[in-house]
């Protein structure tokens, strides 16, 4: 077990817990970006540099900022009056625990069958580039279309406010 793995997992898990449990939403958002960073480094520990940095660029660079913007725009920053958790929080917790138990059971059950460590895959960005444009060119195009659509969609959803508020 490498120290790095442990450190990273603890950081990520603590960040996740913080993101979920903190009272102040902005703190949650920041905890979230910590989780993103932790995950990025986990990716790199799995020798997926490209994915890691892409994760950093996309999540920390864009999504975190977006979340924060959303929080500010919806006055989420003030702490809500009546409790942070929904009324039936216990049920949610139980269900989440159930899901974790099941997943854990599945993983532990198949521990032996899982493949062991293999050699570090010699993967360069050139291969990734070729793969993206070669074998996975269709998903690439589709993601491109999806992103454009999402952008336009988000704009349309948000833009209504401009006319309304003249």
């Amino acid at each position: 077990m490498s120290i790095v793995f442990y450190v990273l997992t603890t950081i990520t898990v603590m960040g996740a817990l913080a993101a979920m449990l903190l009272k102040n939403t902005v703190h949650c958002a920041l905890a979230l970006s910590v989780v993103f960073a932790g995950l990025a480094f986990l990716f790199m520990s799995l020798d997926a540099q490209y994915a890691g940095w892409a994760q950093v660029l996309v999540y920390i660079g864009a999504v975190a900022i977006l979340v924060v913007f959303a929080i500010l725009l919806t006055k989420g920053s003030e702490t809500p009056k009546d409790g942070v958790f929904s009324r039936t929080w216990f049920v949610g917790l139980v269900i989440a625990a159930g899901v974790f138990a099941v997943l854990g059971w599945a993983v532990m059950g198949s521990m032996k069958a899982l493949p062991q460590l293999t050699a570090v895959p010699q993967v360069t960005n050139l291969d990734i580039g070729n793969a993206l444009v070669g074998r996975y060119v269709l998903p690439l195009e589709i993601v491109a279309v999806l992103l454009t659509a999402a952008m336009i969609g988000a704009v349309i959803v948000a833009i209504h406010e401009k006319e309304g508020q003249k």
């Binding site: 793995f5 997992t9 990520t12 898990v13 996740a16 817990l17 993101a19 979920m20 449990l21 939403t25 958002a29 979230l32 989780v35 986990l42 990716f43 799995l46 020798d47 997926a48 490209y50 994915a51 996309v58 999540y59 999504v63 977006l66 979340v67 913007f69 959303a70 725009l73 919806t74 989420g76 809500p80 942070v84 929904s86 929080w89 917790l93 989440a96 625990a97 899901v99 974790f100 997943l103 062991q116 293999t118 895959p121 010699q122 993967v123 291969d127 990734i128 793969a131 993206l132 993601v143 999806l146 992103l147 659509a149 999402a150 952008m151 969609g153 704009v155 959803v157 948000a158 209504h160």
Partner: protein
């Protein structure tokens, strides 16, 4: 080296934490954050299986993760756009209040 099981466990833990958050928190944005967490846990799984999988050179896991990151970003954008719209309209992000879609 850490074996695949541990990564899977971490991913499961992250996933359930995200789920718990989504289920428990009252604020819509935090539910979205929970969902982001679940998505990332899934990405971790993908990369883990890719790394420990039989054919890492085929890059399927990694590229799948990359696409998933892209899509997640788009999803976050639209989700937050909606939440902002709801807030602007209903002046609240409290999920319990948002039950206009009741059957």
């Amino acid at each position: 080296m850490t074996s695949l099981a541990y990564y899977l466990l971490v991913a499961a833990l992250l996933f359930s934490i995200g789920l718990a958050g989504a289920l428990v928190r009252r604020n819509a944005i935090l539910v979205l954050i929970g969902i982001e967490l679940m998505l990332n846990a899934a990405n971790l799984n993908l990369i883990a299986f890719w790394r420990y999988g039989p054919h890492p050179e085929r890059l399927t896991g990694m590229i799948f993760a990359i696409f998933s990151i892209a899509v997640a970003a788009a999803e976050a954008a639209v989700g937050l756009g909606l939440v902002i719209q709801i807030h602007r309209h209903a002046k609240t992000t409290d999920l319990d209040a948002m039950n206009r879609m009741k059957g």
